[in-house]
């Protein structure tokens, strides 16, 4: 599968910061979670960018902030050459025709009290996508595009299986003919055989409609298969990014390496090789100083405990935020040949 070459940025986030106030216990002082800490990323035209990391790393927050479903505390968001950080609600609603999202849990993301027809027709009506009398035809067309039978229109979400619901969610996003879709763990809740079907559908849409995706997932295998580039996040920060093959075959950041080693592979020999995976993600309420990863890093030195590593260009479209990059980069490459 060779998607068309990217040409220039479509959706960009610059230095995005977002904090949440943690829920307070009885009388406890308020605490803040840095869900996004100076995050910059770019999705190019017709590009599929993967965003990977473990739960709580801020990947979902990043996706929703870029769509302005959440408001960033600092930083800016540009879409198709326009700064949309402070776009007024009315303008933002119009922009949403071009920026869409599909969710992890397709059942939770559909209104349980609306039939598939109503769900789709509502979007078409609100955005005046087509003349009213053409709505039924347009709905039928959408269902066909995502591989659902016409009879699906009259049924409610609960009457469908997980994979079919995700198809409905995709149809809803497609109804406004978007340029970019944020897929937030869109295949994570599905069984592998269904997951493959949905990935197939998303790939077909990418080719036919020239869609761009921001593909958020914790599954490195899926990201490697489906994306061209990927960004790895840890505790609200980007640690590494680059083309998928290079990123996962020769990780530069020790965290990427750990993630890669821990990812299950359907191969008993590889799967039983001793893995060096230690520690747990610390509480985002009190992230470690310096490089957030240093308590779990086998290579950490004094500087890692004090200074936040800067993002450095590693060539070949790769970026890495690690103090040890110059010394360890080659060693890292060597360990995955």
């Amino acid at each position: 599968m060779t998607p068309p070459a990217p040409r220039g940025p479509l959706l960009e986030g610059f230095n995005l910061t977002k904090t949440f106030e943690a829920r307070r216990r009885m009388g406890a002082p308020r605490a803040r979670v840095h869900a996004l800490d100076d995050v910059s990323l770019t999705v190019a035209y017709r590009e599929t960018l993967g965003l990977v990391g473990e739960s709580g790393c801020g990947k979902s927050t990043a996706g929703r902030t870029l769509l302005r479903l959440l408001e960033p505390d600092a930083g800016s968001i540009w879409f198709d050459g326009e700064d949309i950080t402070h776009a007024v609600p009315r303008h933002m609603r119009a922009l949403r025709k071009r920026l869409q999202i599909i969710f992890q849990d397709p059942y939770a993301s559909l209104d349980p009290r609306m039939t598939v027809y109503e769900t789709l027709a509502e979007v078409l009506r609100v955005h005046n996508v087509c003349p009213r009398r053409e709505i039924p035809a347009r709905v039928a067309e959408l269902l066909d595009t995502v591989g659902l039978p016409p009879s699906a229109a009259g049924r409610y979400p609960h009457a469908f299986s997980g994979g079919q619901r995700q198809r409905i969610g995709i149809a809803r996003s497609l109804s406004v003919a978007p340029d970019l879709i944020v897929a937030d763990e869109a295949v994570s809740a599905l069984d592998v055989s269904i997951q493959a079907q949905i990935l197939e559908l998303l790939a077909r849409l990418r080719e036919k409609r020239g869609l761009s995706y921001l593909f958020i997932s914790h599954d490195l295998g899926v990201v490697r298969y489906f994306c061209q580039r990927a960004v790895v996040m840890y505790l609200g920060r980007i640690v590494e990014s680059g083309p998928v093959a290079a990123l996962f075959d020769a990780p530069l950041h020790p965290y990427t390496r750990m993630l890669r080693q821990a990812s299950p592979v359907p191969d008993p020999v590889q799967a039983r090789a001793t893995v060096q995976v230690t520690g747990e993600v610390p509480s985002p309420l009190a992230p470690p100083p310096g490089c957030h990863f240093h308590p779990r890093c086998p290579l950490a030195t004094a500087i890692c405990r004090q200074e936040r590593p800067a993002m450095r260009d590693a060539g070949g479209g790769r970026l890495v935020a690690c103090h040890l990059y110059r010394e360890e980069g080659k060693e890292g490459q060597a360990s995955f040949s």
Partner: protein, 331 residues
């Protein structure tokens, strides 16, 4: 595998009452579990793997469920065993760990007490003794600062640590068999890798057998000695782990392996399996995979194929009328 099986399941069928009629969620499940062996039950959601697991501990009782067939633990029949007898086996001989460490622990009881509870129920020892033992197991599963954390509550631990506590609880009476129902599914991959290593280590050192339930073939590769692949309430293929991954014979197993996008190499095309898993009410009389199977013939629709060696080695059985030919393996 040497020795008599510690667990022998034969013709197991679990039925549920759905809309007034009894429907079989699983049919004709047969497998043995050897001492010190880890058997993985793998399959997609709704294939009956968790139900099979729960029926082994007799946790499915009640008006809505019915268990038929035979489950023998070291020669003793579990199906139909009175509750009071089952309580003596649960936790002591056969223990279980669950998918959600968050909800599997009692939120208002200190974790140490929850571990000690199993010990005092089964071994009838004093509070202090139970606590000492419980602490030992907390340390055994590498919970840092165990003595200080004995009286902490579940919400004060991370997801990975909670799962370690659940494991310590299951280990507390040194059971012969551990039933693990998707114990790593709710965890992040780096935690999953650690928990899998922990379980491998415990099984080896405590001479324990394990039935490991999962939907992930990657996890199977990391933990199992033998694998039983389930589809729509039946075992379709059972084989030693290396054999299954190297030379799968059932079309479903083959398709499943080709549907996984892999992180360790370039996947050019992903082969999706067309159609979807039938619901319990839609189970046919023949091979249940036939409607999605590229090799299905008319014969497949008629009778359910039996799990048999079908020309391969005795340890590798497959329930298919047209299995892939046995590959000559250059060993």
């Amino acid at each position: 595998m040497p020795g008599d099986p510690v667990l022998s399941v034969q013709g197991l069928s679990v039925q549920f009452r759905i809309g007034g009629a009894w429907r079989a969620a699983t049919r004709g499940i047969d497998f043995d579990l050897a001492p010190n062996e880890t058997l993985a039950l793998v399959g997609e959601s709704g294939c009956g793997k968790s139900i099979t697991c729960a029926s082994i501990l007799g946790l499915l009782g009640g008006e809505g469920a019915r268990v038929e067939g035979s489950i023998r633990y070291r020669g003793r029949e579990i199906v139909g065993m009175p509750e009071s007898e089952l309580e003596k086996i649960r936790g002591k001989e056969i223990a279980m760990i669950f998918q959600e460490p968050m909800t599997a622990l009692n939120p208002v009881m200190p974790v140490g007490e929850q571990i000690a509870e199993a010990i005092s129920v089964h071994l009838g020892c004093s509070r202090a003794e139970a606590k000492t033992r419980a602490l030992g197991f907390m340390e055994r599963v590498r919970i840092p600062a165990a003595p200080e954390r004995y009286r902490d509550y579940p919400h004060q631990f991370s997801g990975g640590m909670r799962q370690r506590i659940v494991i310590a609880m299951a280990m507390a009476c040194q059971p012969r068999i551990l039933l693990a129902d998707e114990p790593t599914t709710a965890l992040d991959v780096t935690i999953q890798a650690q928990i899998l290593a922990e379980l491998r280590d415990l099984c080896a050192n405590l001479e324990m057998s394990m039935v490991f339930i999962t939907h992930s073939l990657g996890v199977v590769a990391a933990i199992a000695d033998r694998v039983a692949v389930m589809y729509a309430g039946e075992i379709v293929e059972i084989a030693p782990v290396a054999e299954l991954f190297a030379a799968p014979r059932h079309p479903y197993t083959q398709a499943l392996l080709q549907a996984i996008p892999r992180v360790d190499r370039e996947t050019v095309t992903l082969r999706a399996i067309p159609g979807q898993v039938p619901a319990i009410a839609e189970f046919g009389s023949g091979c249940r995979f036939a409607p999605r199977c590229p090799r299905a013939s008319e014969a497949c629709q008629a009778v359910p194929p039996e799990l048999a060696a079908r020309g391969g080695p005795e340890g590798h059985r497959v329930a298919c009328l047209a299995p892939a030919p046995v590959r000559e393996r250059a060993s």
